[in-house]
Amino acid sequence: MSSFTLPFFPEEASSIAGEVDAMFAVWLAISLFFTALIAALILIFVVRYRRRADDEVGKSEHAGIWLEVTWSVIPLLIMLAMFAWGAKVFFVAHRAPADAVEYWAFGKQWMWKFQHPEGNREINHLHVPLGQAIKLSMTSEDVIHDFAVPAFRIKQDVNPGTYTFTWFRPTRIGTYHLFCDQYCGAEHSKMVGSVIVMDPRDYAAWLAGGAAAGQSPVAAGAQLFSSLACVTCHEMGPGRFARGPSLQGLFGRQVVLEGGRTVLADEAYIRESIVQPLAKIVKGWQPIMPTYQGQVSEEQLAQLIAFIKSLGNAPAMATGAEHPPGTLAPGDSGITGAASAPAPQK
């Protein structure tokens, strides 16, 4: 009976899991040491100095400053070291490596919707190829949810109205729990699913086979770009007159705004530019762009963003290539134990 197994540790199935567990193990050792130390001292003292006569009193001594310093500074140093380690892992977990492929996730009461770069869609289950770094761009259609895969040791809230990200590189074939970890209403505990890590060849077969195929987000975005008439103002190609700024190479650039502030053109910025164009006006342009609030769904927004991102830095309009050549460097994440990544299959 499965309910009588006694699990202590979850499986390690991502490149980051080993380091998180190592950090936990070190913390555990530190904690055990201090708990044992304090427990032992207390036990020794209460036995050794137990009251023997009714009118006995203790021997009060004055605080030794060096003792106070010792027991403040040692824990402090330990904690600072652990802080640094934890921060490093945290930053790694927030910055997808260069070879990561972007998937999209949408949280909704009470289900997960996923979209693969190839266009396949899934609900509550996410198939991914072994060894491939995967960046998930996520948003919610209603309340706050949280994408958590314990076996990968990652977790990230999924918020309405903006994007959050997480990434992982699966290192082990198998099926792993996917939980919604942020309380989101009645069926919160049913907002669960699985991440299925497959051999890349099986994954390719799965993609090609029965799975709900569709347009890739970039292609869908390109179509929306013309059907929503974005293209009338944001004409593509250099040197042409346009009513709106060129979106070529926009993503990842610092944009200078009216009033002199600059912002990084990330997903949230592009999303905001579409649903609330007035919030930030690009320097030198008129605030004439209409809002698309309510006219595009979260998924369509994601597709538009994917398309604008795909415009990259290349002079000509890119055609759906995920990454400009030359940026496909191996992950600089610094995580040990990552399986060597087979190139993504396109």
Partner: protein, 547 residues
């Protein structure tokens, strides 16, 4: 029976100074108000405890077979709201603090007795709102009221609960205000700052948090209510609002609030250790200042609850490192308490058992807290049972142990009665064992990945959940016992001496129970606290626990 001299006993104690419900409900005596609070928070603790037992019963099996999903959500919400706002926050300050702050500094009462009574009425009003919500069907937002769920999506009684908590906030503010002014202005002659018992320092620090933090939660919940009722957009993402802003505001109060919950407990522990080791707390000034440091630094770390919400990673880094800093003063306290035992004269009365239990459990809870403050680890355990285990260790293993320890320590003073020694030691043991059995498995569950606020869960988590439920029933019995024998002692308990433990402190220099204005003669303080001196005759200890 020296101080309880015949002459002193001729005049009424605060308990016999007037009878009838009016003499209680219109009292301005801080001691009677403390008793009013004691009764009310016990009621709410039992209510919250019943919800906890229902939660544990539901979690006995992976399927949702005891209650429905929406009911389960209401259970943990009401459990959290009641335990935090109606029990733990007022617990030590409003009962033991109310009773003993004036006594320990040699004052006749708190600075504003009427405001003190008002704070109790406000508490009752807030409790009534919460109960009203409960009776009409409850709330299901979690005690954290996160938007936009609470403002837009939940269709339960969010507004009345939020208003209830809003109102409770003012009760807490008034208590804190009263303590601050009292400690500044009402100390007896000779009671300098460094002669204050550490219990007072802890309450001073707590009051600072109450006064500076509570208004923020009040206005935040007001905003939730306003947004929900009037559809003003304040956090609404549909209007471009940011739900994470709510979380900032919520935790700006609620992290410091966890120190409202634990600091008074730490104050109690300092008193207990000093009294039962019969010596001055080692590093008195360090312990005193560490309370202040916790209160101040505690306001700079709230973002550690938002590590994975989409908060900026740079902000997260800052919040993480300051969270580590705030653990240092806690470490100072733990080590100084331990050092106090060295060369003490230690007796194992019930309060001391609770105090020793506190140190162990708080250490575990605190250390796991620092783990959570480590960014890379929170990445894995955020919003899992690891969090649940962490905070029950500090709140239940920490504060409730301290509260029970303090209650047992001062019970003879408050009621003039002694309770049964064997039963009380048994209950201390049951609580300790039951507590660990309930919550230790939850650490493991959390690391395995079991999310919190889950009505159903994956079957492989069941074993640990069964253990936890088993522990909870032991814990429940452990809490039920004091309720019985303490009530029993009121009627059948032996009369207590003025100073049954042979302890130092002004509160032990007046009769048990004290008269209405606390002291028969004006108090003048001439020595530092905990001045246990060998040559001096120490009042023989009464056979306390053998009623």
């Amino acid at each position: 029976m020296d101080t309880n001299s015949a002459a002193a006993l001729d005049r009424p104690s605060y308990l016999t100074d007037g009878y009838g419900w009016k003499s209680w409900l219109l009292t301005r005596d801080h001691k009677r108000i403390a008793i009013l609070y004691l009764v009310s928070i016990t009621f709410f603790f039992a209510l919250g405890g019943i919800f906890a037992m229902l939660i544990r019963l539901e979690l006995l099996t992976p399927e949702g077979d005891l209650v429905q999903a929406s009911t389960y959500n209401k259970l943990f919400t009401m459990h959290g709201v009641i335990m935090v706002f109606l029990f733990l926050i007022p617990s030590i300050p409003a009962t033991l603090g109310n009773f003993f702050v004036p006594l320990m500094i040699g004052a006749k009462d708190l600075a504003f007795p009427r405001i003190n009574l008002l704070s109790w009425y406000i508490y009752i009003l807030g409790g009534a709102f919460t109960l009203w919500a409960l009776i009409h069907g409850g709330v299901d937002t979690g005690w954290t009221f996160y938007t936009p769920f609470s403002t837009t999506y939940s269709n339960t009684y969010v507004v009345s609960t939020a208003l209830g908590v809003f109102i409770l906030g003012f009760s807490s503010i008034l208590t804190g205000l009263n303590f601050i002014v009292t400690i500044h202005r009402m100390r007896a002659p000779g009671m300098t700052w460094f002669r204050l018992p550490l219990f007072i320092w802890a309450h001073y620090a707590t009051s600072l948090i109450m006064v500076l933090g509570t208004p923020v939660i009040a206005v935040t919940l007001l905003m939730v209510a306003v947004e929900r009722v009037l559809h003003l957009g304040l956090f609404d993402p549909k209007l471009g609002g940011d739900p994470i802003l709510f979380q900032h505001l919520f935790w700006f109060y609620s992290h410091p609030a966890v120190y409202i919950m634990v600091l008074p407990g730490m104050g109690v522990i300092s008193e207990l250790i000093a009294a039962f080791a019969r010596k001055r707390i080692y590093g008195y000034r360090f312990v005193a200042f560490s309370s202040m440091a916790i209160a101040v630094l505690g306001f700079l770390v709230w973002g550690h609850h938002l590590f994975l919400t989409g908060q900026s990673v740079y902000a997260a880094t800052i919040f993480s490192v300051i969270s580590m800093l705030v653990a240092v003063p806690s470490a100072i306290k733990v080590f100084n308490w331990t050092a106090t035992l060295y060369e003490g004269s230690i007796s194992f009365q019930t309060p001391m058992l609770y105090a020793l239990g506190f140190i162990g459990l708080f250490t575990i809870g605190g250390l796991t807290g620092v783990m959570l403050a480590t960014l890379g680890l929170d990445l894995h355990v955020h919003d899992t049972y690891f969090i649940i285990a962490h905070f029950h260790y500090v709140m239940v293993g920490g504060t409730i142990m301290a509260y029970l320890g303090g209650l047992h320590y001062w019970w003879p003073k408050m009621t003039g009665k002694l309770y049964a020694g064997f039963a009380s030691k048994l209950s201390a043991l049951l609580v300790f064992v039951g507590f660990n059995l309930t919550f230790f498995p939850q650490f493991i569950l959390g690391y395995l990945g079991m999310p919190r606020r889950y009505w159903t869960y994956a079957p492989e988590f069941q074993v640990w959940n069964v253990l936890s439920t088993a522990g909870a029933s032991i814990l429940g019995v452990g809490y039920l016992l004091p309720l019985c024998y303490l009530t029993w002692s009121l009627f059948k308990g032996k009369q207590a001496d003025a100073n049954p433990w042979g302890a130092k402190g002004l509160e032990w220099q007046t009769t048990s129970p004290p008269p209405t204005y606390n002291f028969d003669e004006p108090v003048v303080v001439t020595e530092p606290p905990y001045s246990y001196v060998a040559e001096q005759h120490v009042v023989g200890q009464q056979e306390v626990e053998s009623a």
